[in-house]
Amino acid sequence: MDGIHDLGGMSGFGAVEIERNEPVFHERWEARAFALNNLGIRILEAYNVHEYRHAVERMDPSHYLAASYYERWFTGVATLLVEKGVVTRDELEARAGGRFPLARPAAEVKPIRVTPGAQPRFAAGDRVRVRDVHPAGHTRAPRYVRGRRGVVLRASRAFELPDLAGHALAAHLEQTYHVEFEARELWTDAAESRETVVVDLWESYLEPVG
C-alpha cells in the first residue's frame, strides 16, 4: 500500500537531533510493548513479522505520524491480536478505560502460487527497473524507486516474499538484490551530487532494462 509509512523522500520535516546517552527504553511501557511483540510472534505464534510490519503501516496516517516508535509498534501488535481473535477490542477498551486505536483492516490480497524459475535472474552489473506498480497490500518496494532504473550491486539471498507473508499467505523464497540508484534518477532536479541510494529488492519487483 502507498501508505504514510513510505516516507522516503518526503519534504517538510525538520532537523534530526541525536539524544545523548539515550536509554534503550524511555518508559517502562516501551519495554513491555517490545516484549509483547515477541510474545505474539514466538510464543503465541499468532502472526509473523511481515504481518506485524503491515499492521503498523495500516495505522491511520495522522496517528502514525503523531505516535512514537513504540506506540506504533504496540498498535501493530494490538491490532493483530484483535484481528486474530486472541483478544477483543471491547475488552481492551474496558481494561484501558478509554478509546483504544487500532490500525485499519488490510486489503484483500490473493494468494499466488509461484514456481520460481532459475534464480538469480539478475547478476551484479545488470541494469534493472523497479516495476511501476501500486499494490493494495504489503510490499517492500518503496514508492521512491518505482519506475526507476538502477544497477544490481549484488545478488543477495532468497527470502520469503513479504507481499504474501504480510497477509499470512504461503510465501515462496525469492531472490533479493541490492540495487543502486543514482540520486539524479530518483530526484531529478532536486538531487544532490555524487550520491546514490541502494535499495534491497525482491526479484519480482524488478524487470530487466534493455
Binding site: F13, R32, G98, A141, P142, T176, V197, D200
Partner: protein
Amino acid sequence: MTDSRKPEPDAPIAERVRALEEALDAKGLVPEGFLEKRAEQAQESFDPKNGARVVARAWLDPAFRARLLADGAAASAELGFRAANSEYLVVLENTDAVHNVIVCTQCSCTAWSVIGLPPDWYKSPAYRARVVREPRALLRGMGLDLPEQVAIRVWDTSGETRFMVLPQRPAGTEGWSEERLAGIVTREALIGVARVAGTDFMNA
C-alpha cells in the same frame, strides 16, 4: 468522522499497554516472567558495544576484516554476537572515497545484534524521509560535514539484509588496544551519521 471534529481522546498509551498485557494474562497466555525477561535480554544483548568490538577487531586484524566484509554474520559470531534469525549481515566499508549510511525508510529495521535497538533519531520520520533525498545536507545538520569529493551511498534496509558500517579508523590511534579502540566507536558511527573521533570518551 471528518478531520476537524475530534473524537474522544485515546486512553494513554501506558494504560493501553497495561490493558493488553492484563487481557493476555487473564487468558493464561503470558508465561511467567516472559515479558520482563525478554525486555532485559533486549537491553543486554542488543548493544552497539558489540558492533564497536567488531569494528575494533577489524581495524587490528586484516584477516578478520576480510572475513567480516565477506560474511558479516559469520565474522560477528566469532566474537559471540549472533542474530536471532541467522541474519544476513552486510558490512559496508567506509573509505576516503565513499561514505556509507544506513536507513530503513519504511519502518526502522537495524542489525540489532551489533547496532542494538535503533535510537529515536533513526526511527524519526525526519531521518527516514530526508536521508535518501538530501543525505549530504542532512548529515551536515547532524554534525558530519563530508567534503564534496566524498561520494555518499545510502542503504535503505527495505529487505531482510541487515547492514553495519565499518567506519574509518581515525588518525592518532596507532598502538591502541582493541578495547580502547572499541571504546571510541559509537552507535552513530556504526549507522554512518558520524565518523569515529580519535579521542576517548565515556561511552555511558
